[in-house]
Symmetry: D2
Subunit: 274 residues, 4 copies
């Protein structure tokens, strides 16, 4: 440890002559180990890619970058993604800002058992939490999960004498809600609506099962987003959603893609859209 | 070539019972060679990553994916990014849709000469054009360029007896405008506002020049977005902009980041935001 | 232009006391537009990601980084990947080194017509050229192409009452040869050995054709690398090869992978292996 | 659970007529949560990207892909990277193969305290373990860590009246050894040899310290690999190493790069080179 006796100037705190407010300023692409509270299984250790921003009033030259990581350090060992407001308000206060923004992206793992033999394996789902607190301390949170599924082309099945092309697809469901929804719930919803589910371990009886199941449940990229839309529209906890499906076509090198976005309350502010 | 005499069923054209409109459906991550018309230098060959979507009415089961690439094929050899409406209306008509969307991402190269010796070198700028045509044939286009610059930390310079940490930064400027603006114009604007410009060839006299120039022009990430905001606010052709600066800090592994977004006309629809 | 009258010191040229040779030093991840001479179709404009290195003798403190781009500038408008020796020897001489290394990675586009309707579309293939010249001016070049194909699982077909899972697979073939081989030749070889070929435009009769063709030609990841090995072994122009297939399984989120590498002359030096 | 009473055919076990051995076959890009035993701090939860391969004799048509994940499942909760042989031999036996290969890539986190104020923060290091067991049950392991450091250009400092360009650099050290070496040891070695170390939290006195320290310790990319080479040559536990430094130049968009590779025993087989 080295002694520093002379106080160093604080440039960031000095006045700025340009008169321009900054929408967001802070840090991003910080990789940090976090422990998340999760349904049933107790806490899960994962690694988040973190972005933390605040608004900056026109009167200040700069924000204090080191404080973002200091705030994160105090919360990372017991982070509840359904109560992210505590962290946000802490950021807002510590950075002396009018609003604060947080984005967490992290892989989330679930054990899935093969559909026939029951063999266990871990599957990962890329998740995202995007949250903000405004001047009046209102909290807004948007959640997202990306779920891999198999999709099998209905047109290919219909026009071909045998077989049907199928592929790995990634469905991303974003939502805002009035009460807590477990990530698992939305993951299970999406998985149930693909042509077939995806697993990390499949023995031969399982492989037979998913092959035939997919052939029996062909889905266009349009079907994926429509079926999920129908389910999410019926869920009163959800006030806004965007569902995307991206199919990594086995017959092309480009992807097929569809998106449906609906704001049930017509109240989702543009600046917050994920 | 194989003869196909029996007409194959057109599933996509069949009726859909769910009654759900699709916001966007089409293809993405298609890599395609295109020729762009550019200022002064004549056309530039580049490689675009392309996304093409249309809206899909609730009455149809699916869109016709192959038509997107067919339309692109007819335009790719002389694509004018300032007249993207022709391509968009072609998509809308060919896909029988109410609206159409196009996104092009491509590296764009300019020759830059070293500031002292004049040595030439090519520098690339990642660019993006995002456009849509709606039911009433109105065209909306958003342009973006990502420009690398050097930024040198004012705080580090101020508090240190000598030296100052500096880094490669990427500034992304997005804009909508009432009349054509060359990509070069916005690239040059951003380059002029960094702590120093970036080049692919620098001899020793050039290196001395950019080192001292950067030390003489320290800029926080906040300064980058404020200085560009001041310039873009004053440009009456621009109706909406978002400017972001991401600094790859040499003293951290995370990045510093700032964003300012302003809608001069308060008319930019949320769904279109890039 | 600024006058520089006092010569600046050349640190790189000064002596180094540590007595340690450097295997490779230079630049990498330089994106540069290049024009490649190609079979039949005349030159192709593409964008290369370039690495250029030289060896550095223990007696010198550093190499001269700006010279790499200067040398590239003189060759980039007519680069013949089958005569890369000219560029390499130029690097070696200009950098006053004992050996020089060049790596070019670039997308290469071919027009492919759909198998039944003949509809045209462009498909891209990621290619790589890795070359070196040694002290005795001997040139060694390794080429690589990555070719997308459809693969359909033989096990899934065999054990299922109907259907079979299939996916997009990427086959990478690396080779060294005694005489020039067009990239197109190796691309066509790999494409002919998949369960089905991949296209950017497929109309319904084409989609029926590729679906049934794939079902009729199931291939494990092991089959892909074995069938290509058999073909490449029989080609006397090829002295060394490595073939890899990576299958993006539609039933998993991990990939299946196989690799075969053979050195017909047992003479490929370890340091050069791609 | 569904009953499967008729045994399904095992195609993979059937004979193959081509007579071609496969060098490596298995799975890759599997993301899996693992718990690693580490120095001092007890076990660390992290997320590994896993590749697992075996050799496949010419007499078999295919390997059994599901067994790889099954083997991993049995070891992932207490994986000791210094005793990876247990897992490798398990793979070899379970897959009935002559050799087995394992690659783990994972972020590894260490708490680092700021150099003056002592503020704590977590920093991540991308690590890799690449291991194989051969026919005679000999184990070979190659370790790698990628360590971020600040580097400051000696030439820029020398020729400029003030200032010096500096940047984030990534140093990757690969090694094989005769006895266990903690990842922390090699991380600390590399960090001590940069122009300055990198931290996630720096207060103003820390920022002054690292700025001046970097200016006092300028390093070319060549210096980085030479200084590390000198240290690693002197470590008798290390039998082979490759050190690379990649500097993300603040004055260019391409990177400077240097590599030194030495095999003290001249016994590192080509096929194993990382």
């Amino acid at each position: 440890m080295i002694e520093t006796t002379v106080p160093l100037p604080d440039m960031q705190n000095s006045a700025d002559p340009r008169g321009i407010d900054i929408t967001k300023v802070g840090i991003r692409r910080l990789k940090y180990p976090v422990v998340l509270g999760m349904r049933g299984n107790g806490p899960q250790h994962t690694i988040a890619t973190v972005a933390m921003y605040v608004s900056l009033d026109r009167s200040f030259k700069g924000t204090h970058m080191s404080r973002f990581v200091e705030v994160l350090n105090e919360h990372r060992r017991e982070l509840d993604i359904h109560d992210i407001g505590t962290l946000l308000r802490h950021m807002k206060q510590r950075l002396e800002a009018q609003s604060a923004y947080l984005e967490l992206e992290f892989p989330y793992f679930l054990e899935k058992r093969a559909p026939v033999t029951g063999q266990p394996g871990m599957l990962h789902y890329d998740c995202r939490v995007k949250a903000e607190v405004d001047l009046d301390d209102r909290i807004r949170i948007c959640y997202a999960v990306t779920v891999p599924v198999t999709t099998l082309c209905p047109c290919s099945k219909k026009i071909s004498a045998y077989g049907a092309h199928n592929q790995r697809s990634f469905v991303t469901l974003n939502w805002q809600c009035t009460e807590s929804i477990w990530l698992e719930e939305m993951i299970e919803l999406v998985e149930s609506l693909g042509s077939a589910q995806i697993y990390s371990v499949l023995k031969r009886p399982d492989e037979k099962y998913v092959t035939e199941y997919a052939y029996d449940h062909p889905k266009f990229v349009e079907d994926m987003v429509r079926d999920i839309t129908a389910a999410v529209r019926a869920d009163d906890r959800i006030t806004w959603f965007r569902v995307e499906s991206e199919n990594e076509e086995s017959i092309h090198t480009h992807n097929a893609y569809a998106l449906i976005e609906e704001d049930k309350l017509a109240g989702c502010p543009a600046a917050f859209l994920p």
